[in-house]
């Protein structure tokens, strides 16, 4: 006999009002992630060999930021059911009831289309194509497919977050060379230890909503060893721009020092397996990426003036 349908079978979301303010729609675009996207895309633009008019550069950055925000809105639309059950995401605009799922979907789709189209018209087709790929990869491939299926979700999905410096470079140079691909590689290798540190802290919540993060599927010990392995590769990749002659000694020494701290914190996580250590690694990883990418133009400027 078929089991009766109970209220436990569905996720009850608040009655929507679509009463979201502009601030709620900004929150829907994950502004902290967007700031990292703007920063790394801006560094990609600064490091590109040719130049671009400041107005066009502003337009390019704005559209890249809007594209990133649109994919975040689509992510929140799709993940509204699990967001409402996790403490970290329960206050997002959809779970808190200020923006409806349909509203978030419409906003995400319109912003995606608008950002890609404007980037194509105002800047160039290559950067627009890369932005379209990034939005699709994050919203469809990562959010709808990878995230709830495999513990490698953030390893593969990290490609979307690693593309902004390549898009920034393409916006200026209208081409992609090895150098921006190194920036891609650095962010790609940074993403797993960054997210696994968070997943170690929020392991129980991810388990409760059925998201197969590595600490849930393979345990804390295995995750810690994955963190140290990826941190080692990350530190090695971070010095490649200097070793291949794209950056100078300031970047080399800076990246080495920043990487040594990153690696040390990863070792602490492995050794202690404490959430406090994971919390420190998560917080430091954000500073690390900002500082590492800030070193790139700083180093170029130092080489130019010396």
């Amino acid at each position: 006999m078929a089991r009766a349908f109970s209220s436990d079978d569905v996720t009850v979301l608040p009655v929507h009002t679509d009463a979201g303010s502009a601030r709620d729609y900004i929150a829907l675009m994950k502004p902290r992630v967007m700031s990292l996207v703007i920063f790394t895309a801006g560094i990609g633009m600064m490091m590109a060999p040719s130049s671009i008019h400041p107005v066009t550069a502003f337009a390019a950055l704005l559209m890249i930021a809007l594209g990133a925000g649109a994919s975040a809105a689509l992510n929140m639309w799709y993940d509204a059911d699990i967001d409402s059950k996790m403490s970290r995401t329960a206050l997002r605009p959809i779970p808190s009831g200020v923006i409806s799922r349909q509203g978030a979907l419409a906003f995400g789709l319109w912003m995606s289309g608008l950002s890609v189209l404007c980037l194509a018209v105002m800047v160039n087709y290559l950067s627009a194509a890369l932005l379209a790929f990034t939005v699709l990869f994050y919203a469809v491939f990562y959010t709808m497919w990878l995230k709830r299926r495999t513990p490698q979700n953030i390893v593969i999905g990290g490609a979307a977050g690693a593309l902004p410096p390549v898009i920034g470079w393409a916006a200026v140079a209208n081409a992609v060379s090895l150098e921006p691909l190194l920036y891609f590689l650095i962010i790609f290798m940074w993403t797993p230890p960054h997210f696994w540190a968070l997943a170690l802290i929020k392991k129980d919540e991810y388990a409760a909503v059925g998201v197969p993060m590595l600490p849930v599927t393979h345990g804390v010990r295995s995750t810690c060893w994955h963190i140290i392995a990826y941190s080692t590769v990350l530190v090695a990749c971070s010095v490649l721009p200097a070793l291949l002659g794209y950056s100078g000694p300031l970047y080399l020494w800076g990246a080495s020092a920043l990487g040594a701290v990153f690696w040390g914190l990863s070792l602490w996580v492995v050794g202690s397996r404490q959430t406090r250590a994971a919390g420190w690694l998560f917080a430091y990883s954000i500073f690390y990426l900002f500082a590492l990418f800030a070193l790139l133009p700083l180093d170029r400027w130092m080489v130019a003036v010396s």
Partner: protein, 55 residues
Amino acid sequence: MTKSELPDEQAWTPELLRQRRRRAAVMAVAIAALVGLFFMVTVVRLAENITQGAQ
């Protein structure tokens, strides 16, 4: 069940109407800014083309 009793509908209270007006105003400013940006990028491109043509 009448239309107003549907669980996902809410009446437009004065607060909701105020928020809708505020959203519309923000949207108008955003569209105006986008039009302005298009205009400036067009001017920059025209200027670049003129400069290149003169060389």
